[in-house]
């Protein structure tokens, strides 16, 4: 990363299509990720947003943070709304009603809006092969409604609906592997990303919108409010998630796996978890169990990469 830092920022646009002044929490990893995504998308784009943190902190009437066309309707239908917009452009261009100016179509949703309530609409849109990019901003719980567990919440994490107690360690299930579900749809481009790696993130957004057909980007978005760490540690949390193998960064291009960042040796998951109060109740044996699972999953991924 260091060797790029002098030059790469100069290649990044100063254009901010996601305007400053939104109402996200201090240190919000999701808002940062949205900013990066919008820098990569530029202006010729239509964004469809699910209900959730992004919609709430960016569109409180009479203000808006969006300098590109943006629509929010409901929680679970981003895949379907983006299908409709893409089809409208396709039909109207074909019928000569509008010119083809190469407009791109992008869906935004959180982990709940993607891996839980919005999964069906997304699956349908990908199966039908609409030409769009879908960005899942994964902060690993329903943060907007007050930190309730989702199927994307990691094992052992505290949330308000999966609290720890005498009979519970918090989340009792393993994080749903959403990117793998998407890969099973055989779409041309799937990738994971994190705002702690901004150039990698922007590069993947560009690949995602350029590819013909559906593309999916799963973006880990650290959340100081929900994960309960000091807000100045957002970038560090993202780096540690990747460096410990908790959230590996990779691409799947036409079914071919490619690791974005390889590490000779992964850091222990404990380094990532100890900074976050959502994991503070976990005993050593549970952490050991999580370490084993992370190692196992990472090995599986490495096998696919080879």
């Amino acid at each position: 990363m260091e060797k790029y830092s002098l030059f790469v920022p100069r290649l990044i646009t100063t254009e901010e299509n996601f305007a400053p002044g939104h109402r996200a929490c201090v240190g919000c990893g999701e808002a940062l990720a949205v900013r990066h995504v919008c820098k990569a998308l530029r202006k010729n784009v239509i964004i469809v947003n699910a209900t959730g943190c992004i919609e709430i902190f960016s569109s409180l009437l009479p203000l808006t943070s969006w300098r590109v066309p943006w629509i929010h309707t409901l929680f679970e239908n981003v895949g379907a709304v983006v299908s409709g917009i893409e089809s409208a452009y396709k039909a109207r261009i074909r019928k000569g009603k509008i010119q083809d100016r190469g407009v791109k179509f992008v869906g935004f949703a959180g982990d709940g809006g993607t891996s839980d309530i919005g999964l069906q609409a997304l699956s349908g849109a990908m199966e039908r092969g609409h030409n769009f990019l879908y960005c899942c901003f994964d902060n690993e719980a329903y943060m907007n409604t007050g930190i309730q567990r989702s199927s994307s919440t990691p094992y052992g994490a505290w949330t308000t609906t999966a609290p720890f107690g005498k009979e519970s360690i918090g989340q009792m299930t393993w994080k749903k592997n959403m990117p793998e579900i998407v890969v099973a749809h055989r779409i041309p481009y799937v990738a994971t990303a994190c705002p702690s790696y901004p150039f990698d993130l922007m590069d993947k957004v560009k690949k995602g919108i350029e590819v013909e057909g559906p593309a999916y980007l799963h973006i880990l978005s650290p959340c100081p409010t929900g994960w309960q760490y000091p807000p100045n540690l957002t970038i560090k949390m993202g780096l540690l998630a990747v460096e410990t193998g908790m959230f590996p960064l990779y691409e799947v291009i036409d079914g071919e796996y490619r690791l974005s960042f390889d590490f000779p040796k992964l850091k222990p998951v404990q380094e990532y978890m100890k900074e976050q109060r959502r994991f503070r109740h976990l005993t050593e044996d549970i952490i050991e169990k999580i370490q084993e699972k992370v190692d196992e999953e990472y090995l599986k991924l490495m096998e696919k990469v080879r």
Binding site: I71, S87, A121
Partner: protein, 390 residues
């Protein structure tokens, strides 16, 4: 001056013809009985190159309406159709185009709701979506299904309207029955509903934010504007029907009357049963009873003025509901009573619920309702469910 050619068409095909002539850009639908013949016919028209549109075969009705919302927000002319459980699954999304002022046009093949599962006609699905803020119009036959669908595009897309519109056709009674009807000239229909341009569309050249987050200081204003504007669509609806009548020779009113001039008793129906009720009225007239018929065509926005005018001289109003608002009775009867409460306290309104889940309502059934209401003017119960085995 009726123009066009006489054809025999199923109600579903009549609707599909209207959609073809409207030259829609995007169709998004999910199959459900008894709506299927509409989507099958549209898919066929597209496959044969007779209609140039994108058909999104979505994975649910929720997505069907969501895709229509997206397509309409991008400036496309859209169509969807559903029924029963499908309409209920769509329910959450139905509020979006009416609140965001997107002129989606939809057809519902009215069908009962589960449980028990029933694919047959009643108005439970239509009544469950009374409050969605759409323009809702009921057709009585296949000709009307065609005409009213054509008019729906013209109404919905008018810049002073910009509301979604739903045409209700009775499942099977219309959707699957072949009737003779006049199919007007395609070019004349195209001329009647020209291409439209929505004032605010999703376009990178002119970015807008749609569907924002509304705090308490703005939400009530938004909702009042929506209600006032929906009320104000009534003149435009009538104007459109008048213009349609002048060109095509068939005239429509929000409240249609039959033999009401000297009637002292009136029947009130919605949808296909109106035609059966006409036969009952004819027979009772022959028996010397001063009976007339009122058919409610425009259900939302409710035509208060026209309805009160229609009942101003009657002493008895017999309302047929094809749905139950559980714990309350017939939804149409309840609304009619509330529409007349401070205007016609002397009017005897008797509610019947019948025709549930495809149970036929016959001429005899309508005669029974009127005769019974005439015989027992002071009824103890609020309403009666007729034609049920005890």
């Amino acid at each position: 001056m009726t123009k066009g050619r006489l054809v025999g068409l199923e109600g579903s095909f009549a609707v599909a013809e209207a959609v073809r002539m409207a030259n829609v850009d995007v169709i998004s639908a999910y199959p459900i009985t008894p709506q299927t013949h509409i989507v099958e016919r549209l898919a066929e028209l597209i496959a044969n190159g007779e209609l140039d549109a994108e058909f999104i075969c979505v994975e649910s009705e929720h997505s069907a309406m969501s895709a229509c919302v997206g397509a309409s927000a991008a400036g496309a002319r859209v169509f969807t159709c559903s029924a029963s459980q499908g309409l209920e699954l769509m329910h959450e999304v139905l509020y979006i185009p009416s609140s965001m002022r997107l002129p989606v046009v939809a057809v519902t093949a009215n069908r009962a709701l589960s449980a028990p599962l029933s694919v047959w006609c009643d108005h439970s699905d239509a009544m469950a979506i009374r409050d969605i803020g759409w323009i809702q119009i009921f057709a009585e036959n296949n000709q009307q299904a065609f005409d009213l669908t054509v008019c729906a595009y013209r109404i919905a897309e008018d810049k002073k309207v910009l509301f979604p519109a739903m045409i209700h056709i009775d499942g099977f009674y219309l959707s699957h029955v072949v009737e003779s009807m006049i199919l007007p000239d395609e070019e004349e229909v195209a001329h009647f509903i020209p291409d439209y341009v929505h004032p605010f569309v999703l376009d990178p050249e002119n970015p807008v934010s749609m569907g924002c987050f509304g705090p308490p200081f703005i939400y009530p204003e938004a909702k009042k504007a929506q209600e006032v504007d929906l009320e104000n669509t009534k003149p435009k609806i009538q104007e459109t029907w008048n213009e349609f009548g002048e060109i095509f020779g068939r005239h429509y009113l929000p409240v249609e009357t039959y033999k009401m001039d000297d009637a002292s008793s009136a029947l009130l129906t919605m949808g296909s049963s109106g035609e059966t009720a006409m036969l009952a009225v004819d027979e009772m007239r022959e028996e010397g009873k001063a009976v007339g018929l009122i058919r409610l065509r425009l259900w939302r926005p409710f035509p208060f003025k026209e309805f009160r005018e229609a009942v101003k001289d009657v002493e008895l109003l017999v309302v047929l509901d094809r749905a139950i608002s559980f714990g309350m009775g017939g939804p149409v009867c309840s609304e009619v009573k509330s529409a007349l409460y401070d205007k016609r306290k002397d009017l005897n309104i008797v509610g019947y619920i019948g025709g549930l889940g495809g149970r036929d309502i016959t001429v005899e059934g309508f005669k029974y309702m009127i005769n019974r209401a005439l015989a027992y003017p002071e009824k103890e119960e609020e309403f009666e469910i007729i034609g049920v085995r005890e």
